[in-house]
């Protein structure tokens, strides 16, 4: 028996940035515009076949706490795929509250720079699988630098160094967003995806820049990559999830069919 595996089928994650109960989107983390209702967007993506949903409180880090509790509670009532919540999670108590309201995972970036043990504390209590190390990557001449506060502040830490740190701290997954490509819709940063996936022993989801189905199909070829995060491409109806899933499946099956006739 040949053990076939859907390893080329990547998870598609919908990223919803939220500010004062509005779904928002910017370009390169700036110029944020209100574009809709986050709860109805989450429900629509779920019904269309999304694999996971990532809710981000876009201003939480700045004001020191996450405000997504009631939205999360509402989404968790109707949406039965994994829910990740990020933005402004400062301590174990914040994380516990979000898990209690229906989060399956929490994503941590900014707070982990001033309080590195936060990831370890949450992982010790809820397991590594419940902690996503979030990375906002901006290109430098020699690679990529990590940004915090939703792309507002620099850290001087390279993304590759950060991947190792997050792994050692006990994160169970990495979500790497290209700040340069975010909202631009001209394709993912494939080089970033390849370098991080090759370096990491953890599952990696890459986000930022999806401008159409072909961009996703291109990334699916990176075997070690675990998933792709889409925001604008879904919010502005550029990518139809049903069509995307069908094409991913088709692309996955192609080599097998060719093999049969060779």
């Amino acid at each position: 028996m040949v053990l076939e595996e859907s390893r080329y089928v990547k998870r598609i994650v919908a990223r919803l940035d939220v500010k004062s109960n509005f779904l928002i989107k910017g370009v390169r983390f700036e110029g944020l515009r209100k574009i809709g209702d986050p709860a109805s967007a989450a429900l629509k993506y779920y019904e269309d076949g999304i694999d996971e949903i990532f809710l981000v409180d876009n201003v939480a880090s700045l004001y020191g706490r996450n405000h997504l509790g009631s939205l999360l509670e509402e989404v968790a009532r109707d949406v039965f795929v994994p829910l990740t919540v990020g933005g402004g999670i400062r301590n174990l108590g914040d994380a516990e509250e979000l898990f209690g309201l229906g989060a399956d995972k929490i994503a941590i970036n900014t707070a982990s720079f001033s309080n590195p043990s936060l990831i370890t504390e949450v992982a010790n209590k809820f397991g590594s699988q419940a902690v996503v190390g979030s990375v906002q990557a901006q290109r430098t001449l020699g690679g990529w630098e990590c940004l915090v506060e939703q792309g507002r502040d620099r850290t001087g830490v390279s993304v590759i160094e950060r991947v190792q740190q997050l792994t050692n701290l006990g994160a169970g997954e990495l979500l790497v967003t290209s700040v340069d490509n975010d909202g631009v819709q001209r394709g993912f940063d494939a080089e970033l995806a390849e370098v991080v996936a090759a370096t990491s022993t953890l599952p990696v989801v890459i986000g930022g820049g999806c401008g159409g189905i072909d961009d996703v199909l291109e990334m699916v070829k990176i075997e070690k990559l675990s998933g792709l995060a889409l925001a604008s491409a879904l919010h502005f109806d550029i990518v139809n999830l049903g069509e995307l899933k069908a094409k991913m499946k088709q692309q996955h099956q192609k080599p097998m069919i060719e093999g049969n006739f060779a």
Partner: protein, 201 residues
């Protein structure tokens, strides 16, 4: 419907899913509350030893053993399934319930070059198939798998990096799933409903 609330689980997700399946859930935090339970769901995420300690600290360990040995229905989910086995290399000092023979090993013992945890949607391969217990694909997130299990207990498996890994086990009225039916879309909820019907027959 009763859900064991030992404090380390996605209780909210489980009760939301059960509500859609048509069950109102009661949370069980005290051994006496098991007396009136008709079906019990044992959730759990994270660490094997952490979940076992939490069960012990809540005084629920003996009560759950007694409940199962009275041939009453129980479904374990994720680490809630893992603790139904004898133990885990994740927490060598913690014993599991031992309802199923076998121990949990890290996936890297199968292939240390691959990424763990195993995360995502996987197709299930059924050993025994009834409509109620079949599910095409499910959402997994785990690093440890049940090894050395009794083949009679195996209901379905999935393929991780070329290796068959148990995804659903059952014996009598006790069943366990490594994946998350409560996070596997409507099909997952339908499966959850089917399993709960099956174990309470």
């Amino acid at each position: 419907m009763s859900v064991i609330d030992h404090g380390i689980g996605n209780i909210g997700s489980i009760t939301n899913a059960l509500r859609v399946c048509g069950y109102d859930s009661t949370l069980i935090r005290d051994p006496d509350e098991l007396n009136d339970a008709s079906i019990v769901v044992l959730p759990g995420v994270g660490n094997f030893g952490g979940v076992m300690s939490a069960i012990q600290e809540a005084g629920l360990h003996e009560a759950i053993r007694g409940y199962v040995f009275e041939d009453r229905p129980l479904l374990g989910i994720c680490v809630g399934m893992q603790v139904l086995f004898q133990g885990s290399t994740e927490s060598p000092d913690s014993n599991g319930f031992g309802f199923f023979s076998g121990k949990l090993n890290h996936l890297s013992s199968l292939d240390s070059t691959k990424v763990t945890p195993s995360v995502g949607w996987k197709e299930l391969i059924h050993v025994t198939t009834t409509d109620e217990l079949s599910l095409k694909e499910a959402y997994f997130v785990h690093s440890y798998f049940a090894a050395g299990i009794d083949s009679a207990d195996l209901i379905s498996s999935y393929v991780w990096e070329g290796h068959l890994v148990p995804s659903h086990v059952g014996r009598g009225r006790v069943q366990g799933v490594q994946f998350h039916p409560e996070k596997s879309r409507l099909e997952g909820l339908r499966f959850l409903h089917g399993v709960l019907q099956d174990i309470s027959k």
